[in-house]
Symmetry: C2
Subunit: 151 residues, 2 copies
DNA sequence: TTGCTATATTTGCAAATGCAACATTATCAT
DNA sequence: ATGATAATGTTGCATTTGCAAATATAGCAA
């Protein structure tokens, strides 16, 4: 070992930086969510439902960026926790519509501020201008890759 | 369903944007790596070793941001693939030093350009100035969270 | 030296994930 | 209608991951 550190991948590769930051943020949110009986794997689905429920599982799948079988299993968990329920679709006998229960709906007020706090904590080293900047740059990359997403 | 889309979490939450982008990038690199018999889980360890080998497993663990037992298992895989070898540590009988084999060393020339191409593809919608900007902003966030990392 | 604590690595077991196949229902062309 | 194909959701099984405990060694204090 020399006393001069060579440049490591985390310093030079964009993908690596994103992976490290993503893992770090997921871990931080997961810890907070555990305090209220949730965990990070449930988060995208719950968040999507707080914004709009009565969705089919495949609509949820696409909004949450998860695999269809993952959605099936997450909903099994969320139903056991009595946070959501599957109701029959009015016109299709194979699809379900997913609704929040009262308990699931109430959770939003507790949970969302945790996530906001988490985001803020990570962004705390940046100026307001820098925050806007990074958000829009990342958004730009995502849209560039998948123009189908609404801007 | 109305014809007006409410704002979804992916549009407003920094953590969500990072998670989506991270998953997307990991998936893209994983696909490329599979063409040459590797996969994304092996990547951080190999990359770290290409930069410097003869590290102990715990040094590798800390550079790769993985769990110690993950390092153990990844090295088992990499040894089976004849890409690395564990050698005894000269002064400690519990530690090992991890070295690339000739085959492992040669792989760098094939693999690293794949990853570079992958990064470039994701950054292709940004101007050179924007690329510098986003890289430095993300770096700043990571450092802010973990000041122990070398800048 | 003895014993206590910390470090380095591995492993057993349970939970989570991914893949591929399945069952069921819709759609659509003939 | 009939049959082929696609969409929706679930499940079995193998692989991966994570936690906690185990093993072995090092370092240090009395």
């Amino acid at each position: 070992m020399t006393d001069h550190q060579p440049e490591l991948p985390r310093h030079t590769s964009f993908g690596w930086l994103i992976a490290v930051l993503g893992a770090d943020m997921a871990h931080a949110l997961d810890n907070r969510l555990k305090e209220i009986g949730l965990n990070i794997s449930l988060w995208p689905t719950l968040f999507a439902l707080w914004e709009e429920d009565g969705l089919t599982q495949s609509e949820l799948t696409s909004r949450c960026n998860t695999a269809h079988y993952t959605t099936t299993r997450l909903l099994d968990s969320l139903e056991k926790m009595a946070l959501v329920e599957r109701r029959p679709h009015p016109t299709s006998r194979r699809a379900h519509l997913v609704y929040l229960t009262e308990k699931g709906r109430e959770l939003e007020a507790t949970a969302v501020p945790l996530a906001k706090a988490c985001n803020d904590e990570f962004l705390s080293g940046l100026s307001p201008a820098e925050r806007t900047q990074i958000q829009s740059l990342i958004h730009k990359i995502i849209i560039n890759r998948n123009p189908a997403l609404p801007s």
